[in-house]
């Protein structure tokens, strides 16, 4: 036994091997089982995918670092459930690449934000939070109304998401840019295609209040309005009680 240890200590390669052996096991044991979790986790047959406009909005949420101050994970604690709504289930973020659970609440949790406030409230609030919440510490995101939304590469975004496991159809990928336009312009022919491809529960509205052009604001508000509404699973009565 001594000989073996002596060699490990003498040889840098032995040390390296031992470090890797010791260090990797904890991660393997905790993470590997999670990849078989689909078998036991709650089912959500009604789970729908994000529309192209919502994907674009989600990317703006990431770009502006919203996750640094807002969580999207309601814990199984009584006060959180009363403040924010039913606690978050694993299945609800199963199409979130990456997840945006967050780690800090400088602002409130957003997991159940969808359709809680009007589009107009969100647009005003994002333009200048202190117009609607005087004590707010949130930055004013005025450029969201100024900047036109880029839609030409949304098809590529959807196929990349499909490559990592989100079930987009060929038709959804092919019409991504058109659907992004249609979702924010309810009076147009493009809007019908959105409902057809993404279901009738999809929000099809002029999110920023202006129909003529698509802005970053349209996308972000569309995303905020779908938060917590991809599936009804969390509202089903068979969930265990919060602690």
């Amino acid at each position: 036994m001594f000989g073996l240890h002596y060699k490990i200590e003498r040889s840098a390669i032995g040390l390296v091997t031992f470090i890797v052996l010791v260090a990797s096991i904890g991660g393997l044991i905790e993470i590997a089982p999670l990849f078989t979790i689909d078998e036991t986790v709650e089912q959500a047959p009604d789970m729908r995918v994000y529309t192209p406009l919502e994907v674009a909005g989600r990317n703006i949420y990431i770009r502006e670092g919203c996750y640094a101050c807002h969580s999207q994970m309601i814990r199984t604690l009584r006060d959180e459930v009363e403040r924010y709504g039913p606690y978050s289930l694993a299945v609800e973020s199963s199409y979130d690449h990456p997840q945006l659970w967050g780690s800090k609440r400088t602002g409130p949790d957003l997991a159940r934000l969808g359709n809680k406030y009007s589009d107009a409230w969100h647009t005003v609030h994002l333009f200048n939070p202190r117009d609607v919440v005087p004590e707010s510490k949130m930055p004013a995101y005025r450029w969201l109304l100024r900047d036109p939304l880029r839609t030409d590469d949304l098809g590529n975004h959807l196929s990349a998401l499909r490559a990592v496991g989100v079930p987009y159809t060929d038709e959804q990928v092919a019409n991504a840019a058109l659907d992004a336009y249609g979702q924010a312009n309810p009076e147009t022919a493009a809007a019908d295609g959105v409902a057809e491809r993404y279901g009738s529960a999809t929000n099809i509205r002029m999110f920023d209040g202006v129909s003529t052009r698509l802005t970053d604001m349209d996308a972000l508000v569309a995303y905020l309005q779908v938060l917590g509404n991809l599936t009804d699973a969390a509202h089903q009565p068979n969930q265990p009680e919060a602690e």
Binding site: D79, R83, P98, S136, N156
Partner: protein, 547 residues
């Protein structure tokens, strides 16, 4: 720098820089309709700038073989300066974001100046810019002294140091443009991540090649910590950043993992970045510089080995304590909590080992602010690891999670432990690195020490208070069984603490500026006249930082 290289090494360097320039050009062309293109131009400029500098310097005479009789310290010297510069940038960004929370209008309607984009500049600036450069600079120094072998060649250390800083520049400039993966402490996008892997492989190779040429039979324990840092960070980085780019012309990528798997992977990474980047590497620093400065061997070498294996093994399990009461399965949460609590044993073994080493040399701690930095770092390490284990307990975490208490905990570790041990170590090697008899001013070190200590204390107490108040307000009920406070009530209550926190950060930043000034003035002090020392001074290493 160029004059120190042999002709053959200069040709290698030019080939590497040329290849880098071509990669940059390819990125600029492929990403011409995307923000990727801007990063392409930055990479191209770095490659081309270096290439031109070599074109102009390539005919300089060959360096003499005498260089092989000296340790190769030029990369360490530049690394020290970069550490201090990134420290000022990162802490400056920190002060700015802290002020934004007290006065949100300081964004000036510019997208790049909003909280969400500046925050990663702060976190990456201090962790990767300040911490990473300090680790690279000191690891080269410690590695050579403890093996009594010169670094294996003259290009690869520069490749690691400058390549790493290119990564940091890409990361920070990307955040300002809105490029981020949104994974905390792993924000840089896919192409920056690939580049870091290349740099890291070379870094690891330097370590192995130097160790293979060592004179000493034993590998000193500081090197174990540095090696664990290099190896485990590589594993974490590669696994956590697996992603599919939208296209090769797009900066955006989508993480391979989603939902609960992604959350666990992210916090397995996030927590172990703290463990192996901000703890293991800096423990390596402590185990070399603290005994050296105190003039006493480490109290118990065996204890340092036990704590090494303890930390390497147990940290890896602790990440799930970031996900208590979430959709993560209960048994994983419990496992993470249990290991987090046991982790206190090896952590306190290290802190205790450091303090017991100083036992009998307290008069030195009293008189020497440099050693005092290191002693204080060990104390803060002990405090922070205790607090960490405490906060990992589910019941405590239900209160502390999502609040400023976490921020206070992180800064007790980052300011009190990481930055203090770094400043102590840098101060202790700066004179010998530039062949100066002493630092420019011992008094300024004293000033820095008190600024750093008071800044840390103000910061941490402000965040402890605000965090606990916030957590309690969120869960307080009225007698009739409804929630007492709205979210906005809790936000209003935070305001005075946010101002106090910004003030603490300001003190700490001032300390870092004093350190930068002191080091620059030390370098600018006239060199002693001895012939031996004069030979050893590099040709203005700082001026070539842009290469």
């Amino acid at each position: 720098m160029i004059a120190d290289l042999t002709r053959a090494e200069r040709q290698w360097a030019m080939m590497i820089l040329g290849a880098l320039g071509i990669v940059g050009l390819a990125m600029a062309v492929a990403g011409r309709n995307d923000l990727l293109g801007i990063h392409g131009w930055i990479v191209l400029a770095a490659g081309l700038g270096g290439f031109i500098a070599f074109m102009r310097g390539k005919d300089a005479p060959e360096p003499s073989d005498d260089r092989l009789n000296e340790y190769y310290d030029a990369p360490t010297r530049l690394g020290i300066i970069l550490t201090l510069l990134w420290g000022v940038v990162g802490m400056g960004a920190g002060l700015w974001v802290a002020s934004l929370l007290a006065w949100p209008e300081l964004t000036f309607d510019a997208a790049w100046a909003s909280f969400g984009r500046l925050r990663p500049v702060h976190t990456s600036g201090v962790i990767f810019g300040f911490g990473g450069n300090a680790l690279i600079a000191t690891s080269f120094h410690v590695l050579q002294r403890t093996t009594r072998a010169r670094l294996p060649d003259q290009i690869s250390p520069w490749f690691v140091l400058l390549g790493y800083n290119l990564f940091c520049v890409i990361a920070a400039s990307g955040y300002l443009m809105g490029l981020t993966q949104s994974k905390e402490y792993a924000e840089p996008e896919w192409y920056a991540d690939i580049w870091l892997v290349v740099v890291w492989v070379v870094y690891f190779a330097i370590y192995m090649r130097t160790l293979a040429r060592r004179k000493e039979p034993h590998i000193y324990v500081a090197n174990w910590y540095y090696m664990a840092f290099i190896l485990v960070v590589a594993i974490l980085h590669i696994v956590n950043n697996l992603a599919v780019p939208v296209s090769f012309g797009s900066a955006k990528s989508y993480s391979l993992f989603s939902g609960v798997q992604d959350a666990m992977t992210q916090w397995w990474y996030g927590h172990n970045a703290v463990a192996f980047f901000l703890t293991a590497g800096f423990l390596g620093m402590m185990y070399y510089y603290l005994p050296k400065r105190a003039g006493r061997p480490i109290f118990s070498y065996r204890m340092s080995i036990i704590s090494f294996w303890g930390i390497t093994f147990m940290y890896m399990w602790a990440g799930s304590h970031h996900l208590h009461y979430t959709a993560l399965p209960h048994w994983v949460q419990t496992l993470g909590m249990a290991f987090s609590v046991v982790l206190l044993v090896p952590s306190w073994a290290s802190a205790g080992n450091a303090l017991l080493t100083l036992n009998g040399a307290w008069h030195k701690v009293r008189d020497d602010a440099v050693l005092r930095f290191m002693a204080l770092a060990a104390i803060f390490y002990g405090i922070t690891t205790f607090e960490g284990s405490f906060m990992a307990i589910r019941a405590v975490n239900s209160l502390s999670h999502y609040t400023d208490w976490t921020i206070g905990h992180v800064h007790a570790g980052a300011l009190g432990w990481v930055a203090m041990i770094t400043f102590g170590s840098l101060y202790s090697i700066v004179p010998s690195m530039w062949k100066r008899p002493s630092l420019y001013s011992a008094k300024l070190v004293e000033v820095h020490f008190w600024l750093a200590l008071s800044g840390t204390v103000v910061y941490v107490f402000a965040m402890w208070n605000s965090g606990v108040i916030q957590g309690l307000m969120w869960r307080t009920y009225t007698e009739s069984g409804t929630l007492s406070y709205s979210f906005i009530d809790s936000l209003v209550a935070m305001h005075p603490y946010y101002i106090a926190r910004a003030f603490g950060g300001l003190l700490f930043l001032l300390g870092a500026l004093v350190a930068l000034y002191n080091v620059v003035m030390t370098i600018r002090m006239p060199a002693p006249a001895t012939e031996d020392a004069a030979l050893d001074i590099p040709v203005q290493p700082a001026l070539q930082a842009g290469e």
